[in-house]
Amino acid sequence: MKPLPDTSEHQISTSVKELFSQTEESPIFIQIDPTRYLYSQRHIAAKTEDAAVKSEDMQVKFSLEGLRIIFHS
């Protein structure tokens, strides 16, 4: 792992677009409380008995292209 980036406020505000302008395989860790997401995620997983959330086949690309598929299905 590379050293942590300089996250001074100025640095962040000027480099956000450069940092995230390209699709990457590496995950991005963001310091956000996951409680609300966890609640939603577990709620859906419980309803669908984990099938939809765990199945790779059900992956929908998170993009406008993906949304088009979802809305048309």
Binding site: L4, F20, T35, R36, Y37, L38, F62, I70
Partner: protein, 306 residues
């Protein structure tokens, strides 16, 4: 039945999954469609999350993806609403640019992992790490310090004071959680991991990274509940959580996402027969500590009790 969201079981459980967002996108779209059929407009108040991303940036993304028109705009707005409601819980960003970075990352198709320490879990850890007397003393010191600091900085809050005076209590817990979380991610990730944290956490995490004491700690170790402090009772456990609630100024136990408001008590202590009594105890104590805080906060230093 889904388990209460006290903490993730594995680091990748909080990796934002497109299927989860898609489910809620469809929900919002259906709601709007149904309203449109009836000729109604869905009332929607702009959230802080939506304010975080500018119209100009949205247009940028639309052009980047190569889609245009009102439909694309509608979909992007719906996506922003889903992220704002189902990830950010319509809360303002705790650190500069954090919410904006989340939007940028998701729009750019990055795999985002929500690595912050859940507030509820932090309370559980703190409640079982200190005695009631420790927390009462800490509360008193923060209230007295608040009087002093208010003269210079009228907008300062008691939670600011707590973080300022006791970083080893309130910040260190999060630093250890996030450092271990990051190390676990780094073990599994194929390439680099980018970590975006609040400015207060950059140096502490960098300092903790090579600390030998956390070298052998795995993610499953940090999500375990610490043992209760010896001698703790139902009453003292509730009182400690009340103190933390008032001190940190966030009523986490009132969140609608919890079925059990007393996860720090055993099943025998927290039953259908006792829960009403437990809630009553909690609210009475909450009122007591809030009144103490407000009284001290509003008393000039010269008149404060010695």
């Amino acid at each position: 039945m889904a388990a209460d969201p006290l903490h993730p079981y594995t680091w990748d459980e909080v990796a934002v999954h497109s299927q989860v967002l898609a489910t809620y996108l469809v929900k919002i779209a259906k709601k709007e469609e149904a309203a449109a059929k009836k000729g109604e407009k869905v009332q929607h108040e702009e959230t802080s999350a939506e304010k975080a991303i500018s119209q100009e940036e949205i247009v940028d993304y639309v052009q980047h993806i190569g889609v245009s028109g009102e439909e694309a705009q509608t979909r992007i707005n719906q996506l922003i609403r889903v992220v704002g409601e189902y990830i950010l819980d319509n809360q303002a960003a705790p650190y500069y640019e954090i919410n904006n970075i989340l939007f940028h990352s998701l729009f750019a198709n990055n795999q985002v992992v929500l690595g912050g320490m859940p507030k509820i879990f932090k309370r559980l850890v703190l409640g079982n790490s200190f005695t009631l007397e420790n927390l009462q003393l800490l509360f008193k010191n923060c209230c007295l310090a608040l009087q002093k600091y208010k003269a210079e900085r009228p907008n300062i809050t008691i939670s600011d004071i707590a973080m300022l005076l006791y970083p080893e209590v309130f910040q260190a817990t999060e630093v250890i959680y996030m450092t271990v979380f990051l190390k676990e991610m780094a073990r599994f990730a194929k390439g680099d991991v980018k970590a975006i944290v609040g400015i207060d956490f950059v140096d502490p995490i960098a300092d903790t990274w090579n600390n030998e004491q956390i070298a052998g700690i795995r993610f499953e170790d940090i999500i375990g509940m610490p043992q209760r402090v010896e001698g703790d009772t139902v009453d003292s456990l509730i009182e400690k959580q009340v103190i933390l609630d008032v001190l940190l100024e966030e009523p986490v136990w009132q969140t609608p996402y919890l079925k059990n408001q007393f996860p720090y008590l055993t099943e025998e202590e927290n039953t259908d027969a006792t829960v009403v009594d437990l809630r009553k105890k909690f609210y009475v104590l909450h009122r007591k500590y809030t009144e103490i805080k407000e009284k001290l906060e509003n008393t000039p230093i010269s008149q404060s009790p010695k």
